[in-house]
């Protein structure tokens, strides 16, 4: 599903952020990506969604080589990869329902389809009863669940979560992780970037550790190392 071959990346000349990364992630896997602040995790996420180009190596998603992806092709990639972030990225003046629908509207989906898809993803994340509230009227965990619902509207094969629990207390955080596991069970590949030792250790899934832009460990049923 995801192949990184000898990937390197630098923003400024001479300062390499990722060095010679080789990763192979299969369809349907649940992978945690851990590493200290500044180790290059977010950079890796940006490479996977086509926001940053790599300096060397190859990046392959499914059977699509996105190493030299053009600006015009990026939207197609984004519809195959859902992304969520620490800061939810919801629009404050839209209700939860409208926030999710927005993702379909801007891709030209018809109102009938939007209605159908949005209500099904809202049910999946358990927010049907709060769909008419505004983001500031719900908890952080519920905001993140809305963001997850939005990331799922195109039925992506991959879900990238960059520190999704960073702004949440442990109860809300656990709910989000449960939800990600549930989504993974439906067959979606999930990549979870996190700092949270407890979460990683509880998951008992594959853990990839990056340090200073290098993969330093890659364990099935791994533990948080650093």
């Amino acid at each position: 599903m995801i192949k990184l071959i000898n990937v390197s990346k630098s923003y400024l000349k001479n300062i390499e952020i990722l060095h010679d990364i080789n990763l192979y992630i299969e369809a349907g896997e649940f992978v945690s990506l851990v590493g200290q602040s500044g180790s290059g995790k977010t950079t890796l996420v940006k490479v996977l969604i086509g926001e940053e180009r790599v300096g060397g190596g190859r990046v392959i998603i499914g059977d699509w080589d996105i190493t030299r992806i053009s600006k015009r092709e990026v939207p197609y990639l984004r519809r195959q990869i859902g992304v969520i972030f620490q800061d939810f990225k919801l629009l404050p003046k839209k209700t939860l329902w409208e926030n999710v629908a927005f993702a379909l509207e801007v891709c030209g989906q018809s109102p009938a389809k939007i209605e159908k898809i949005v209500s099904s993803v809202m049910r999946l994340v358990g927010l049907e009863d709060k769909k008419n509230r505004y983001p500031h009227e719900v908890s952080g965990g519920e905001q993140q669940r809305t963001a997850i619902a939005r990331a799922l509207v195109h039925q992506p094969k991959i879900l990238l979560a960059d520190e999704p629990t960073g702004n949440l207390d442990s109860i809300n955080a656990n709910e989000i992780i449960d939800l990600l596991e549930r989504i993974n069970k439906f067959g979606t590949t999930v990549i979870l970037v996190t700092h949270n030792r407890e979460i990683v250790n509880q998951l008992k899934k594959r853990v990839i550790t990056i340090d200073n832009g290098k993969v330093v460990s890659d364990q099935e049923k791994g533990k948080y190392l650093l």
Partner: protein, 303 residues
Amino acid sequence: MLLSFVRIVKFSIQDISRNVWLTIATVTILVLALFSVNVLLTVEMLSRHAIEAVKEKVDISLYLKSDASEEQISSLRSQVSQMSRVKKVLYTSKADALRFFREKNKDNPEVLTALRELGRNPLSPSLIIMPNSADEAPMLIDEIKKMDSDIIESRDFADNALILEKINGITNKVKEVGLFIISIFIFTSMLVAYNSIKVAIYTHRREIEIMRLVGAPNTFIYLPFVFSGIIYALMSVLIIIAIFYPFLGLLQPYLEVFFMDYNINIINYFLDNFWVIFSLQFVAVSLISVLSSWLAIRRYARV
């Protein structure tokens, strides 16, 4: 396709209404630019009419001796009529001249009293000679000057060349200044439109970020801003139409006085050419504002 269009329009209207003041500023500067364009157009049209009118007016008057007999006059008249450059010869008899004079001075009792006290008709009969065309006038004038007749008292040649030169001079000055002002306005319009779109993009940065994230096509991201540029253009053209006609209405009475005999109506001119004038202006302003939007989009929305 239609659905996307409706959404793009909706998004663009949202963008315009969220930045009302910027919209007002942009449209105002576009309206000023259009106003100067239309004033220049008016000047151009007036000067064309004035030149035509003055050219038309080329006539040569021969004042005849008061004691010339009717036979002498009519033989002179037919002699002039036969000249190849002459279109028409009008004869004003002594009596006609007096009638015109009375008519012209009907509001001037002192002149009429003086005339009555004089007790006789002091005016001379005259022939007014019109050339075939304004261009032939100088040659005709030469011929008339050379003409020899006992009954001619004086010859009067309106010196139109000088007037034409003056009108041309003034028009060219006005055009020069006008083009300078217009180019300044165009430049300012572009800056202001560019800036408005830049701010609109900034206000929508979260939407744009999310659109990118969820895989909205690039066209969907930038078209609303391009469309906003077109809406600015449309609003400014509608406003200029709404204010320019009343402005012409204010101007018209003065022009009527100025161009007394020539029947100039600039409102009609603008009405007759409504579609050409204003659709061209709409296209031009759209180009200006879409181009500036596009530059701002390239720079700030990175599409």
